[in-house]
Symmetry: C2
DNA sequence: CGCATCGGAAAGCCTAGACTTACCGTTCGT
DNA sequence: ACGAACGGTAAGTCTAGGCTTTCCGATGCG
C-alpha cells in the first residue's frame, strides 16, 4: 500500500491520475521514463488498489481507485489521533534539545 | 516524505513510535534488525520531519513529529477531494471491464 | 485482410539503499 | 577516574527493484 507510493516515479503517475483519467501512453508522455516502465508501475499501483483500469478499444484508461485512497487516508488518520494525544503532553515541557 | 514511509522496516519503527516515545535500543528490541539499522532509519525519518528526538542522559528518546504527520495527511486529503469528484462522474456508467 | 497502434510480458542490467560488523565519542554511575 | 551502556558513524556487502530493449498478442482502421 505505502510501499507502492514509496517510489517517486510511481508517485508521479499517481499524481498525474489525480488530475484525471489517462491512458498508458499519455502518462508516459509526461514522464522521463519509457512506456513499459509506466506499465510496470501501474501494475504495482493496481495491486495496491490505488488505481483501476478500463479497456477502451486497444487503450487502457487508468483512474485513481477510491478504495486504496480511502485506506491510506484512514491509516494516517489513525496515527494523527495518537500523535495528537502524545503531543498534547509534550507541549508543557518543550523537548527542544534536538539535532 | 513518503519516500521515508516506503520501507517496511521504517514503517514498523514509525508505528512503534505511534504507541509512545521510545529509545533506540527499545525500538530495536521489537524489530528483527540490528540497532545501527534502527539508527539509520530514525535518521531518515527525522529528516522527513516524521519523528523528533530528545536527549535524556545518554539515551535518545524518539517521538512522532506532528509536522510531518500533518503534511502527509494533507497530501492525501488533497487527492481524496479530487478522486471523489472524478469518482462521482464514473458512478453513472460503471467502468468494470477491469483486469 | 493486412498494417499500425497500444500495452502488457520477459530478460537483463545496474544502481540505490537496507543491513551488518566494527569503531568511537559521550554520559552516567560508583 | 574508570568502566559500562547508549547510540551515531563508517565501511563494505548484497539483494530488491526500477529501467531499458525486445518481442508479441490484441484491437481498430483502411
Amino acid at each position: 500500500m505505502l510501499d507502492a507510493l514509496g517510489d517517486p516515479t510511481r508517485r508521479a503517475v499517481f499524481e498525474l491520475l489525480a488530475a484525471g483519467p489517462r491512458s498508458v501512453a499519455e502518462i508516459a508522455a509526461d514522464l522521463p521514463v519509457s512506456r513499459p516502465a509506466v506499465s510496470q508501475h501501474l501494475k504495482v499501483l493496481k495491486e495496491a488498489a490505488l488505481v483501476s483500469s478500463t479497456a477502451v478499444g486497444t487503450r487502457r484508461v487508468y483512474t485513481l481507485d477510491p478504495r486504496g485512497l480511502a485506506a491510506v487516508r484512514g491509516y494516517f488518520e489513525q496515527f494523527w489521533q495518537q500523535a495528537l494525544a502524545a503531543f498534547a503532553d509534550a507541549v508543557e515541557n518543550p523537548p527542544e534539545e534536538d539535532q
